[in-house]
Symmetry: D3
Subunit: 72 residues, 6 copies
Amino acid sequence: MPLVNVKIMEGVFTPKQKQEMIRKLTDVMVSIEGENMRPVTLVILEEIKSGDWAVGGRSFTTADVKALAAGI
Amino acid sequence: MPLVNVKIMEGVFTPKQKQEMIRKLTDVMVSIEGENMRPVTLVILEEIKSGDWAVGGRSFTTADVKALAAGI
Amino acid sequence: MPLVNVKIMEGVFTPKQKQEMIRKLTDVMVSIEGENMRPVTLVILEEIKSGDWAVGGRSFTTADVKALAAGI
Amino acid sequence: MPLVNVKIMEGVFTPKQKQEMIRKLTDVMVSIEGENMRPVTLVILEEIKSGDWAVGGRSFTTADVKALAAGI
Amino acid sequence: MPLVNVKIMEGVFTPKQKQEMIRKLTDVMVSIEGENMRPVTLVILEEIKSGDWAVGGRSFTTADVKALAAGI
Amino acid sequence: MPLVNVKIMEGVFTPKQKQEMIRKLTDVMVSIEGENMRPVTLVILEEIKSGDWAVGGRSFTTADVKALAAGI
């Protein structure tokens, strides 16, 4: 029944990473709520356009997020 | 005043079906809240990318949803 | 698969009206997507606190919405 | 800590206007909550597809919104 | 047409501050999109329960946010 | 930068379980995006009122979800 909605920056995660994300987030929810809830546990990913996500008024592009993740 | 936000899988509904959806969802809301509320009744459709919607940890593509709808 | 999220003003609709809303919104979605999609059609209602919804910068209370609906 | 999520119609605002929007919305939040909250103040913009936003059951395209803004 | 949805921590802002927030956020949007768009500019505030908002895995209570805002 | 928004049924999870949820969901995201992203990884929990969540047009109460989880 839980609905996990994840907003991520577009172009940061590969399709393979997004599948890993879906699988692991579902497993976390099921580990807490119990296996019976698996069939009603939803995960929805939504990608935000490069530049359309800001922290403290500073807009981040896809490149900015990749640099941040890489510790650059 | 109500805001109806509908998340659907991309590529499953035709533009014509989306217009039908908007019209009918609005009519349902108005049938309950009264005709005076029509001008402030909003419907927003958002399409989720193929593969980015999962149920029970299983990711669905546009093709998967079409097959499900067709009863295949 | 569709997810219908409806934001409404708190205290405007009775529990009975909310159940009617859920049933009718689901039926509308199923009328378009097909009966096979019924089991994966979700509706979630969320109530906004009185005063926390604004149109054109004018804040609406529950009483304001009821007056609007009544055509007062 | 506040999260400001803005849904806009695609193609109505230029990238420059979106940056102005991000900066000004952040400044408004900070003017109320205090400068210490700036680093945890988020703004996320999401664009709705032309035709997928309806008011009173009437669907609006990008052109419709531009005409409305221009007072046509 | 824009919809500004603001998630805030419950109990951090007074009703007066929330009204100021609504008014100023609306004015920012109108300053960019034009005065004609005021009647279709929406602001919705949603309060998150104390403890249900986390950054970096650290959960924040209402008291935590107030302390952060006060620079304690 | 990712924002994980989880909608759950009110009264189903204890405060302790919600803290576990926040911690584990954050860890999953960090395991995929890298440790550098931890400080900008957000989790927000939102509780839906009993009866206001429906699947296939059938409304679920808190008791219904607990029974489902317990396999009753």
